[in-house]
Symmetry: C2
Subunit: 351 residues, 2 copies
DNA sequence: TTGTAGGCGTTATCAT
DNA sequence: ATGATAACGCCTACAA
């Protein structure tokens, strides 16, 4: 019986092979391991493919080969500009490689992460990128069961699932506080929004640094689960001043908050850095442009994405990683907003 | 001859069917048109699938059905925070639907866009999102040849490929300038970075508004191809003041530039808004938090992403769009930075 | 270096 | 409402 499906009219590999006068498998090899063909056939297949405008059918390829060229990436947020640069690094790293990236948004939910992980596993990705090191036991189990390389990004820690690229949020925060202490600040507030695990570790770094200096005071710590923003930075700062009016420095877990603090200082006519030092986190572009320029902890987000891809693709190709855990470090960018505490000439603000 | 491939050990639909005591195709139907099954079989397949932990093989599905559930999206930049919210809207819109989104980055290159478009076409996406309306002729041809619904986002214009969601950048800029004129500003500068087609149209709006008021002056227009940033905003503003020292207002094509201008005013002790009005574009979160708060043109980026998905999925399901072109409009957010020009009490800036 | 044969897991087609 | 069977287009395994 002759049941025919509607042929999509697409060019198949077999057609290319026929035109080139070779077998299908030879044509197939041309696209995957061209160096395995003789120069003559390679040229013939090439021109045949071009002539017919052949495009491989990825679904068929994936079905037959039992693998895909998809790299999955789980990130907690799309609007957080911190991730934008990571994504940028990822895309640049992918350039010229056969892999494509498939993003999924966990929305800071570990349950969502678990679910997406299972989804990804079913699709047999070539590699996987996950954010952070605080997966649930369930998620961790799924990750361990992955047959593909996995990179955890954004932070470093013990016991990688497979590979890791990041830095120590604890150390970064500790360094920021140490700097403020060295500048003569004593009443250093902590402002935190969206207390995800990495922000939590920054808080730990702050706490330990303050404890080491015997300057701990719970009144100095203001946090919220609300997403970060300049507005919330101003609000938290107002709360801080209400609870600890003698605050002489603020460490913000990210730059949006720091910007909000700067503006709140402007509104209250609190001189920065004379009366109030400000240090942010991430070193977004505007920090250096601010007036006064804002100190921050520079994190290598672009490189993180880029490196994650490098490690992943190398691992996919079967090359064992030189190091399983890559610490990209951080850099304290000291600017005007955290200058030493001392009397300074008053500054006016008009033409 | 018995060549056996390594079975991936995965649960196949056939296994589910066997356990449920039905044919494969019935099991298949359960996942696609469950209402076509009798209640009894439906329940049996359901529990069988759950018991075995069945996950469909998307590659096989795509191959057999000749279609995918992938929606492609071409965007020019990942780091530009304007797109972050669009993406966010897209992801939220996708929630609960079977579709997945595949992003590709054109990097503001029309050639890259062309290439990616061809790539996408070969993958037979269920739908496609492209940025803007200025595709090359080639790209346009590829778009026209798509068999799937297409949505152009970020701006509106005549002659949609298929559907459109956006707003008029020209009108938005025109409205901003009209507002500044109404506040008594006369020497209104234009600051533009990364002059993509939409920014270009904002410039057109500015020009026409100034022309209508007989206030045109080419010295007032400063642009650069460099990517936007607060730093570049300060730089462009400095250039503007050098060329037109009597400038009394600045319209920035985006908020980063506006922020940079504000800081530069701070540095030069130019009173805002007394001596200088500032209006940005996009109304990023920090604009309202700034001191003084910064006026901007609010654009509905989240809704744009969300709406694009709504339209697309409806079209994929075969529902004809109510409107092919959806104008989401904009809203002028008038804040302190563009208050009316008049003498104002000087403001100090210290505690 | 090249080719042969079959299978990858699902859905479309046609039939009951 | 349900089922038998043939594609879907490519790749792996093996052989030459």
């Amino acid at each position: 019986m002759e049941r025919k499906r509607i042929k999509a009219g697409k060019v198949r590999l077999a057609e290319v092979a026929k035109l080139a006068g070779v077998s299908t498998i030879t044509a197939s090899r041309f696209f995957r391991t061209p160096e395995a063909l003789s120069a003559g056939k390679r040229a013939r297949v090439d021109s045949a493919a071009k002539e017919l405008g052949y495009m491989p059918n990825l679904a068929a390829r994936a079905l037959a080969s039992q693998r895909t060229e998809v790299i999955g990436a789980l990130i907690p947020s799309l609007t957080n500009s911190v991730f934008a640069e990571v994504l940028s690094g990822i895309y640049d790293g992918l350039d010229g490689s056969p892999y494509i990236i498939q993003f999924a948004n966990t929305r800071y939910s570990t349950l969502q992460e678990e679910k997406l992980l299972r989804l990804f596993r079913a699709q047999k990705p070539a590699g996987l990128i996950v954010t952070g090191i605080n997966q649930t036991d369930e998620a961790r189990a799924v990750l361990e069961s992955m047959t593909c390389p996995v990179v955890q990004i954004m932070e470093t820690g013990p016991d990688p699932v497979d590979m890791m690229v990041g830095f120590s949020h604890y150390d970064a925060a500790f360094a920021a506080i140490t700097h403020l202490l060295a500048q003569g600040r004593r009443r250093i507030g902590f402002l935190g929004a969206r207390m995800d695990p990495r922000v939590q570790r920054r808080l730990d770094g702050y706490r330990d640094a303050m404890k080491a200096a015997a300057l701990s005071d719970p009144h100095l710590v203001i946090t919220t689960q609300a997403p970060t923003s300049a507005t919330i930075g101003g609000t938290l700062f107002a709360d801080l001043l209400a609870r600890a009016p003698d605050t002489d420095a603020v460490f913000c877990v990210n730059d949006d908050l720091a910007l909000g603090v700067l503006f709140e200082c402007e509104r209250r006519q609190i001189a920065v850095p004379e009366k109030m030092a400000i240090v942010g986190f991430n070193d977004l572009e505007f920090m250096a442009a601010a007036a006064p320029s804002l100190s921050s902890v520079r994190t290598n987000r672009y490189d993180m994405g880029r490196r994650a891809i490098t490690m992943l693709t190398a691992a996919i190709e079967g090359q064992p990683p030189e190091q399983r855990v890559v610490d990209l470090g951080f850099e304290l960018m000291v600017r005007q907003s955290s200058a030493a505490k001392r009397a300074a000439p008053p500054r006016g603000r008009r033409a």
